[in-house]
């Protein structure tokens, strides 16, 4: 596996996870993000889901897409 292609994912989604955790933690402090509220629970789900959606897209276009149409492995 070519680590020069893997490190970008680790770096972007690692630092991204820290930013997301800081934001969610800051929302939970003081009760602005109130998980008893259905709307807020949905928002949290969307924020976490969006993160994994982006991760999935990036993995597809790193590990799979280069092999489409012309074969070969990473």
């Amino acid at each position: 596996m070519d680590m020069l292609r893997v490190w970008p994912i680790v770096c972007e989604f690692g630092i991204g996870a820290i930013l997301c955790i800081v934001g969610i933690w800051c929302g939970l402090r003081g009760g602005y993000l109130n998980l008893k509220n259905a709307e807020d629970r949905r928002l949290l789900l969307i924020l976490v889901g969006g993160y994994f959606f982006m991760l999935g897209i990036m993995c597809i276009f790193t590990f799979l897409s280069p092999n489409w149409a012309n074969g070969g492995t990473l």
């Binding site: 970008p8 770096c11 930013l19 929302g27 109130n34 709307e39 489409w68």
Partner: protein, 611 residues
């Protein structure tokens, strides 16, 4: 750049027609601008989808099509990586920054910095932010100048002047409402043109597989290599664009703050952000970059000869029929106008709210400030034009990257620490901004000493990107160090201005305890009641209050029943105490509130609870 003009008369006619139509559209919305609140914030009334399109149109500048297509031609689909960093900032934006800005009715970043820290921090930030926005205007103008040079053979400066005059004119008259409404049109056009071009290319090559097979293998990765090449490495792009530039767009870009404040509620901001970042931004990434990918495939197929900088225009010219090519050129124009208009309006807002109103002429009436705002819009466009000759010395990508990497880190760090860290002190904020800016300035004098250690082995070619990392670390270190040795502001004084106290800001905004119980929208018929004049209150039946889960004193929002108005005809009001009445579907509203919302008597409106 290519020397000869390309395109036919029909293309130029379509482009000119579009230019005139947008100008007229913007000028039409001037009638919705009566106060500085309307001029800067569109009256805080718009729906999430309208602002989502507006944000995309603002993010996609004219430089985007040229810059990202050139990168797409050279490096492949990794040209989209700049657009795919935004999601990570969403929790901080939606859960911290937006509620703080919106509920405290903060009109600019410098105003926030004075409330959170002190006046000297506000002044320092004002200087840097004005420099940042005016520079951005210059970059946008030079890009269109260069594009018009390619297309029409005009001098770069002539193209820049023509577009600057057009944009300044409709911002002058229409303000933020004109900006938002024209951005909706321009956002749609630039997405349709870009995606349409991509679809035409797939059709031309005989399917996605055939197109994909024509791209070199190295062009098929979402990210470029970690530290290669120096001018387009992942780490360089990430620190300059993913951290410094995206952070600045979210937290310190006055144009975006004004968009957020134009929303009818903070709840709408959540929908807006999801639509913008998860749906529209990826589409915009494809729309702006695909010209380069298509050109690369056409070159491989032996059908086209082009340089990276011309790849978008040449690929579009190759694939489009006469007239359709003009539509694509209109998208380029749209991208320029929709970004420059926001920036010009933003400079005006900062000048009036952070310089003119507090220091030069306080306590004047709103008409005076509106006049100053309009004149400042013209001056901002002129200043941007003055910078065009300076930026002409570099490539667009280079000028844009160098500029954002150098200017944004200190203020970005000060805002980020300010909203997330209660202990962060006023002295530390000032040192972060001023000291950070000085250190970044010194990095131009001694680049090898200061930026060199952060270049990941890439050398001087990477400095214009890696300067962002140096700036973020330098400003951050200064901020943290000074915080430990200085006294923070009293907790009481920063209530509502820092994470953990957003509910205090909500209480202050409403003037009471927020009502967050879930409720429904109701449809009611307006009836004018002069007795309610000056109270900003409406009387709705008890049954309607029950359906909305609202109580007397709650903040309501009444709007036109046609959703596609996007809140253009709407008003925020407070719920009054219901009175006994036979009419169960009547909302009593003062004539002045109705006029502000452009309601007529007997009209059906939708009413919903905000909080």
């Amino acid at each position: 750049m290519i020397a000869q003009a390309i395109g036919g008369n029909l293309d130029y006619a379509v482009m000119l027609g579009y230019f005139v139509a947008v100008l007229g559209f913007g000028l039409y919305f001037g009638r919705y601008t009566r106060t500085t609140k309307d001029f800067f914030f569109g009256g805080q009334r718009f729906s999430w989808w309208l602002i989502a399109f507006s944000c995309v149109a603002t993010v996609v500048g004219s430089y985007s099509f040229i810059k990202y297509s050139a990168a797409g031609f050279r490096y492949g689909i990794s040209s989209t990586q700049s657009y795919l960093n935004d999601w990570f900032w969403m929790p901080i934006l939606v859960l911290v920054w937006l509620p703080i800005v919106y509920y405290n009715k903060i009109t600019s970043v410098p105003e926030y910095l004075e409330s959170r820290f002190d006046r000297k921090t506000r002044i320092a930030a004002t200087v840097i932010i004005l420099f940042y926005i005016v520079g951005y205007i210059g970059i946008n103008l030079i890009t269109l100048g260069r594009t018009l040079h390619t297309l029409l053979g005009w001098q770069v400066m002539t193209g820049a002047i023509v577009t600057a005059v057009a944009v300044a004119l409709y911002v002058y008259i229409g303000g933020q409402t004109a900006v938002i409404m024209t951005d909706l049109v321009q956002g749609i056009i630039l997405l349709v043109a870009g995606m349409g071009l991509f679809a035409a290319a797939i059709y031309h090559f005989g399917g996605f597989g055939d197109f994909w097979a024509l791209l070199p293998r190295a062009h098929k990765y979402a990210f470029s290599e970690f530290n290669a090449p120096p001018k387009f490495s992942f780490i360089g792009i990430y620190v300059q664009d993913g951290l410094a530039n995206t952070g600045a767009l979210m937290l310190m870009h006055q144009g975006f703050i004004m968009r957020f404040l134009s929303l009818k509620s903070v709840k709408d901001s959540r929908r807006m952000v999801v639509c913008w970042i998860l749906v529209l931004a990826p589409l915009a990434a494809i729309a702006t970059s695909c010209g380069g990918w298509i050109a690369k495939a056409l070159v491989k197929n032996g059908e086209l000869v082009t340089e990276p900088g011309d790849s978008f225009v040449k690929a579009a010219h190759f694939l489009c029929a006469p007239g359709v090519f003009g539509f694509v050129l209109a998208a380029l124009t749209a991208a320029l106008m929709s970004t420059a208009d926001s920036l010009i309006n933003a400079v005006s807002a900062i000048f009036v709210n952070d310089i003119w109103r507090p220091y030069i002429k306080p306590n004047s009436d709103d008409k005076h400030y509106l006049r100053v705002a309009r004149i400042t819009s013209l001056a901002a466009a002129a200043l941007g034009l003055a910078l065009v000759p300076i930026f002409m010395k570099d490539t667009i990508y280079g000028a844009h990257s160098m500029f954002t990497a150098a200017v944004t880190p200190p203020v970005l760090v000060a805002i980020l620490f300010g909203i997330t860290w209660k202990r962060y002190t006023p002295a530390a904020a000032f040192v972060t901004i001023v000291g950070g800016a000085i250190l970044i300035g010194l990095s131009f004098v001694w680049p090898d000493v200061l930026v060199g250690p952060f270049d990941f082995g890439m050398g001087p070619d990477s400095y214009k990107f890696m300067r962002a990392l140096f700036g973020l670390l330098a400003a951050g270190t200064l901020g943290v160090s000074v915080t430990w040795f200085t006294k923070p502001k009293a907790a009481e004084k920063i209530k509502g201005l820092v994470a953990g106290t957003q509910l205090d800001a909500m209480r202050r905004f409403k003037g009471g305890t927020p009502n967050r119980r879930p409720g429904e929208k109701v449809r009611l018929i307006t009836r004018f009641d002069p007795k309610l004049a000056g109270q900003n209150v409406v009387i709705v039946p008890q049954s309607a209050l029950d359906k909305m889960a609202a109580d007397p004193g709650d903040l309501l929002y009444a709007s036109h029943i046609r959703w596609w108005y996007g809140g253009l005809r709407s008003v925020h009001v407070k719920a009054g105490t219901p009175i006994e009445s036979k009419d169960e579907n009547i909302v009593r509203i003062s004539p002045e509130d109705a006029a502000s919302a452009h309601f007529t008597e007997g009209q059906q409106v939708v009413v919903e609870k905000i909080m």
